[in-house]
Amino acid sequence: MKTNVVFYTAFVLSLLLSSCELLNYDGPDAQFHGAIIDEETGDTIPQDIIDGSTIDYIELGYNTPEIQRLIFKVDGTFRNNLMFSGEYLMIPTRGNFFSPDTVDITIRKGDNNYDFRVRPYARINNVSIQTMTASDKEYLVVKFTIDPVASVAVKSIMLSVDKNPNVGRRLHEFFFEKNIGTSVDPDQIQTLWMPLSNFTTGTKYYVRVGALMDLPEAKYNWNKAIRIDPHTIPIQ
């Protein structure tokens, strides 16, 4: 009798264990990384970490594929180390660039690299950071020019400052956003400022300036974050 109980228990347990086998799918076996690159200059296009541009993709071979998403790091690169090898359709979209055509990408086991080459909506050039005094107050002043690749109006420009290198439209300790509403010349100098008293002495901050073009679902075009200690810049 006792052996029977042991036997049946072992039998049921073996059934339970073996029944799980079918569900043991393989884990992610591929890494996918790359960058979003300005097709003209060859530079990566700086991005926002929160509410920034995305790569929408679907994996082929399923009836109702879910749209999945990759986001960019602020420097314009992306990386997903937990991808499954297979065929994908991908499109960088809702960003600060003209969306290219959908691309068919095969992800193989192991390391995969792909760079999306696109035309940005705008380029931020000639960024210079100064400090100056106006009516007895000291200001951090950032000057730059906008190369409006998309020939539309500039909706707004923004100066964003944080101790975190991911500084951007939604991540900032201090910001100054200014509405423009007109188109701009590539050599027209834009100026944004904020009180120097914002900043703790002896602390380094990341500074970015950007322009938002007046296009549906557009995101800001930024410069690469510049790390400075605002109080060490000589007052002009």
Partner: protein, 624 residues
């Protein structure tokens, strides 16, 4: 052998179990046939449908996967605190994202119940007149249901038949384009308007006028989305198929005209009017306005449709959350609704009609400076803190409890700090100074139960203001959830006037002279004597003030696509009364509501995510 016969007996017994005599009708439920065979049954069924109807009242809970009729502890998270009307003293939320506004499943459950009613009506043994009325009522409820669905999700599947589980195509109904969804709601309301009675005696059930009023609201909503879609365009499969957006300026004009016609028919019936349209003083105007919301039965001429509450424990908790800390008695929660200074600013003053009158706190007049107390600025000083609001529109003091004003016979102490005699500011922190034999405390009193502001506890306001609208001075909080029983005004005449004005001003259709007259009628009711011209700015300011906290602001920001520009890296602000011990006068500091975040409303939040798209095979809204 014996073993086998035993097994055989069990198998046979198992088969025998399927015999009919076990198919008993449940004794604790009523079958559909029995329900629809008597008028009482129909009445009970209708009561349940009205209960489920998405009326955005005191029990509208748009957070944490809840929706309507939420009658237990909802944390006081009413959607009015998601807007630029108020903050919640405990939970700072503007856009709850995918956690908010869940009504996909409950919406279609209600839709199925309404379809059951449509199926049952022809089989009922009642006369044709009653059948028509019931049919009209069913149309009204269907329109209400789809209005909520369209507001939340854009174009939705229009399901007017009960699906057959054995016939999958009847279950998988794709989404209709947004435009067709709005058209369906409006045409359903047209049927309701024709079929329903035209008396407005029972304000708790649908009649012709309720349906017309709802149509005025629906058409304005659809028109605004058609007109302002381009302010926040989206992309993706749902947009390509016009399931969201995809309406033209011609559609906008057509919907505005529908709003104008529906509003006109209701106005021209002369069955309705403004409650107490002719006050002799602003104080009288304020009291009239307050009384209307404490008990809508006071104002039958203005009220069109009510959701009633009668039973304690089956009411709502609005006043339980809204009471001031000083008057909450033994109830532990209070002070959750903190109206923000931006709303208070919006009210006109009697001396400068036709514009918002921001609260000026310093001699330089800069009301956009929210940097907090700065000793180098020159603050205006007041003996009586209420003087700073003296000239404001009467509706302000009927809508919010101002610092140091009286509520339930108690002076509500809302003070955020003191400036000590040596000039040291103590703001939003504990501090005191004794001068002679009197001690002055930064919050206005020593005991936290003796004041109502700035302690940074959930029971104390953080904004400098508390809720007064809807609150009843005779109500005493009891330790029972949902023990408030004052009724909710869902539709009132003033909203119809405001809908008409907005449609006229936005579309150039209708009668601008009448619209201007209605605008000034509303202002006159609030104690204004100078008329102002009809303009979009004037109409929208009037709407914001007249309908403050009536759960309209959220949808105004949505339908006019203003949320993402009004909430773009935005803070919400407070007015902090501070007692200056050097001059023994009050000063006021405009600053950020302490403990709140900088908020952004993302454009994809104009539509909410559809539930269960992997099984119901529907196209999801953009970016979910």
């Amino acid at each position: 052998m014996k073993k086998y016969s035993l097994i055989l007996i069990f198998v046979l017994a198992g088969l025998y179990g399927c015999k009919d005599y076990l198919d008993l009708d449940p004794t604790n439920k009523i079958s559909a046939d029995a329900l629809f065979s008597s008028e009482e049954g129909i009445k009970a069924f209708m009561a349940n449908l009205y209960f489920q109807t998405p009326i955005e009242d005191f029990n509208w809970q748009a957070f944490y996967m809840q929706s309507f009729n939420f009658r237990s502890n909802n944390a006081g998270l009413f959607p009015l605190t998601f807007t630029d009307e108020a903050v919640n003293s405990e939970y700072d939320i503007v856009d709850p994202g995918p956690w908010g506004f869940f009504w996909w499943d409950p919406g279609y459950r209600l839709n199925k119940d309404i379809n059951m009613l449509f199926d049952a009506i022809p089989t009922l043994s009642i006369n044709q007149e009653k059948k028509d009325r019931l049919f009209g009522e069913a149309c009204f409820l269907r329109a209400y249901t789809y209005f909520e669905l369209a507001k939340l999700y854009g174009g939705v599947p229009i399901i007017t038949q009960i699906g057959n589980p054995n016939d999958p195509p009847t279950l998988y109904i794709p989404r209709s384009p947004e435009k067709e969804t709005w058209d369906f709601i409006l045409s359903t309301l047209d049927t309701a308007i024709v079929k329903l009675d035209d008396d407005n005696l029972d304000k708790r059930r649908a009649n012709k006028w309720v349906a017309l009023a709802l149509k005025s609201r629906v058409a304005l909503h659809a028109a605004s989305i058609a007109k302002y879609w381009d302010r926040a365009p989206l992309s993706g499969e749902a947009v390509d198929n016009k399931l969201v957006g995809g309406m033209t300026q011609e559609d906008a004009q057509r919907y505005y005209l529908e709003c104008i016609h529906a509003s006109e028919e209701l106005i021209n019936s002369e069955l309705f009017g403004l409650y107490m349209p002719d006050p002799s003083t602003p104080d009288e105007a304020a009291e009239n306005y307050r009384l209307m919301f404490v008990d809508p039965d006071n104002a039958p001429e203005e009220v069109i449709f009510i959701r009633g509450y009668t039973m304690q424990d089956h009411g709502h908790a609005f006043q339980l959350w809204g009471e001031t800390n000083q008057t909450k008695e033994s109830w532990p929660f209070a002070g959750r609704f903190n109206p923000i200074i931006e709303l208070v600013d919006a009210y006109e003053s009697y001396s400068a009609p036709g514009e918002s009158a921001p609260i000026i706190t310093t001699t330089d007049g800069d009301y956009n400076n929210y940097a907090g107390y700065n000793p180098s600025r020159d603050y205006l000083e007041f003996d009586n803190p209420l003087d700073i609001f003296a000239d404001k529109d009467a509706r302000l003091k009927a809508t919010v409890i101002l610092p140091m004003s009286t509520w339930k016979g108690t002076q509500i102490i809302i003070q955020g700090g003191i400036i000590k005699t040596d000039g040291t500011p103590v703001i939003e922190g504990a501090g005191q100074e004794t001068i002679g034999d009197k001690t002055y405390y930064s919050f206005g009193a020593a005991d936290p139960n003796a004041y109502s502001g700035f302690l940074h506890a959930a029971t104390h306001t953080r904004s400098g203001f508390l809720m007064r609208k809807y609150l009843d001075e005779n109500f005493h909080p009891k330790a029972i959830w949902a023990s408030c029983t004052n009724d909710w005004i869902e539709l009132r005449y003033a909203e119809i006037l405001l809908n008409y004005m907005e449609a006229v001003v936005e579309s150039g259709q209708g009668d601008p002279a009448k619209a201007e007259q209605y605008l000034n009628d509303l202002r006159h009711r609030a104690g204004h004597t100078t008329n102002i011209p009809l303009s979009l700015e004037n109409v929208m300011r009037e709407r914001r003030i007249e309908l403050a906290f009536e759960n309209k602001r959220y949808w105004d920001l949505i339908r006019r696509r203003e949320y993402h520009t009004k909430f773009n890296n935005r803070n919400r602000h407070a007015l902090v009364p501070v007692f200056d011990l050097r001059s023994m006068k009050y000063i006021f500091v405009r600053q950020k509501v302490t403990g709140t975040l900088t908020w952004t409303f993302y454009e994809h939040s104009y539509y909410k995510p559809i539930g269960g798209t992997t099984t119901n095979k529907l196209i999801q809204n953009p970016q979910y």
